[in-house]
Amino acid sequence: MKKLYSNKGHILLFLIPAIILFCGILIAPIVMSGYYSFFDWDGLGEKTFIGFSNYIDLFTSNRIGFMKALGNSLVLALLSVGLQLPLALGLALVLGKGIKGERIFLSIFFMPVLISTVVIGQLWLKIYNPDYGILNVLLRSLGLESWTRMWLGLRETALGAVFIPTLWQYVGYHMLLLYAGVKSVPKELREAAMLDGAKDSQINRYIVLPYIKPIIRISVIFAVTGSLKSFDLIYVLTNGGPFHSTEVPSTLMIDMLFLRNRYGMGSAIAVLLIILCFAFALIINRVFKEEE
């Protein structure tokens, strides 16, 4: 048996497909993206080595608007952590305590996560439609005519209007993670606290929250990196407009690549995105560690 399982040839044979697929599609392209990012390249002709120029341009040129895009995605991150997570946490605490209809509520709240973001985007395009969209129709029927807007077409409201569907879709995701955490709190802990006369709010504050801290940390990381990487919904709803008011790094990257054929610049954005995601994950981990 041991001899059979130590045969080098077999080991290699079992691993080779995974290694080829993984390195070929995930690892090698990261290295290549890094390499391309040092060139001025239209994808077809000669590459010209320009060192860190792409990166410097991204951070200094207003015309490219990378800083604006990064700022927008950070606003989305802030909104996610500030609004989406508390809502998700509240739902998780209520459902995790065990109430009637727990499973049904959980399943309903999680459902939007599974629907294609394109479908959700198209649906919200209709909801936001200035003339016939259900939002403005509702406002008009409530006599709030003056509140109706071209939600996605105005610089002031577009970013907020893009955030709402994100919130709508992903609250359920964070809720599910946190719910799984709340459910993993040992029953004895809860019961002991109840015997001591602790109220629900006290149990949540002193027992459940500390217990699920690692999951809260994961949720925060996902909310922040997810906002940095956000693409689908924005692409469908506004594609970065109006006047770049909803531009995020990913939409800018796609623009660079496939509208302007600036492959070096596009690669630089991709590399920065990866670095930023890892950096934020590390920072968030550090913040949670220090609190302990």
Binding site: M111, S116, L176, F231, V236
Partner: protein
């Protein structure tokens, strides 16, 4: 129960029901306006059930709008991706959990890196490579990247299940004269059905909904998948909402159908992927 206990309880339920309505309403609205004509959608009957059920919206979306074709394409890509992901992941997991060699823990960690790598990272090089190999506008242009990006999650799930299979079974099969492949194919794989189901569903959802790769690697109408197809369709039908609603329903229905029957398994797979990743 005292009245003071009842009121907060009521408030909690009101809150939950309110959020459930917010979650369900857009989906309900989508189903209803997919069966309405513009007169109803735009004024007479915005939020109610359709008065005349206009099924022709569906035939229009499926035939004129090419949704039938897109649906088939999405199906082909999803099924092929699932099969490749499963085959590759099962083999790798077998080597990582059963076969005996140094550094298998390191390699496992290496594969787990994939859980954190965003698809943005690879889009330019993959695009350039695909275009050099003349593979843009083929099913393979999506299947291979999708399989690669599903691999880490698949290995993660399979490792959990495969570790739970008792090693005595391997021993017994070995004594009965099975080789490595015999043990793998006849003993291990048949016992991996729950893992296969979990990975299958998770991978299906990823492929079915993916937009960025599909949007860039496929430009031929005949090969578009649902997310890209819907984008194209909404460009054609800017004023007729009915057929678009029908298209959205067609794209969403399979997912919701699976969810109704397998909600627990789907939720578990999302938790597993997040918490370990």
């Amino acid at each position: 129960m005292k009245l003071t206990d009842k009121i907060p309880r009521m408030l909690i339920y009101i809150g939950l029901v309110f959020w459930a309505v917010i979650n369900l309403f857009p989906v309900y609205w989508m189903f209803t306006f997919s069966l309405k004509n513009n007169d109803e959608i735009f004024g007479e009957n915005v939020a109610g059930l359709p008065q005349n059920w206009i099924w022709s919206n569906y035939t229009e979306a499926l035939k004129t709008g090419n949704m039938g074709k897109y649906f088939l394409n999405s199906g082909i890509v999803a099924v092929a991706t699932i099969l490749i992901t499963l085959a590759v992941a099962l083999m790798a997991t077998f080597a990582l959990t059963r076969l005996i060699w140094k550094r298998r823990k390191t390699l496992n960690k290496f594969f787990m890196l994939g859980l954190t790598i965003p698809i943005h990272a690879s889009i330019v090089p993959i695009y350039v490579t695909l275009s050099r190999l003349h593979l843009l506008n083929t099913y393979l242009a999506l299947i291979i990247p999708y399989a690669a990006f599903s691999l880490s999650m698949a290995i993660l799930v399979c490792t959990g299940f495969m570790n739970a299979i008792p090693r005595e079974l391997d021993e017994a099969a070995c004594i009965d004269g099975c080789g490595v492949w015999g043990i793998f194919l006849r003993v291990i794989v048949p016992l991996m059905k729950p893992a296969v189901a979990t990975v299958g569903i998770y991978t299906f959802l990823q492929c079915w909904n993916e937009l960025m790769f599909a949007n860039i690697f496929i430009s031929k109408t005949a090969l578009k998948t649902l997310p890209v197809g819907i984008q194209a369709l909404s460009g054609q039908y800017t004023t007729a909402w009915g057929p678009i609603g029908a298209a959205l329903v067609v794209a969403t229905f399979p997912t919701l159908f699976i969810y109704v029957f397998l909600s627990k398994r789907i939720q578990d797979s999302f938790v597993a992927g997040a918490v370990k990743g």
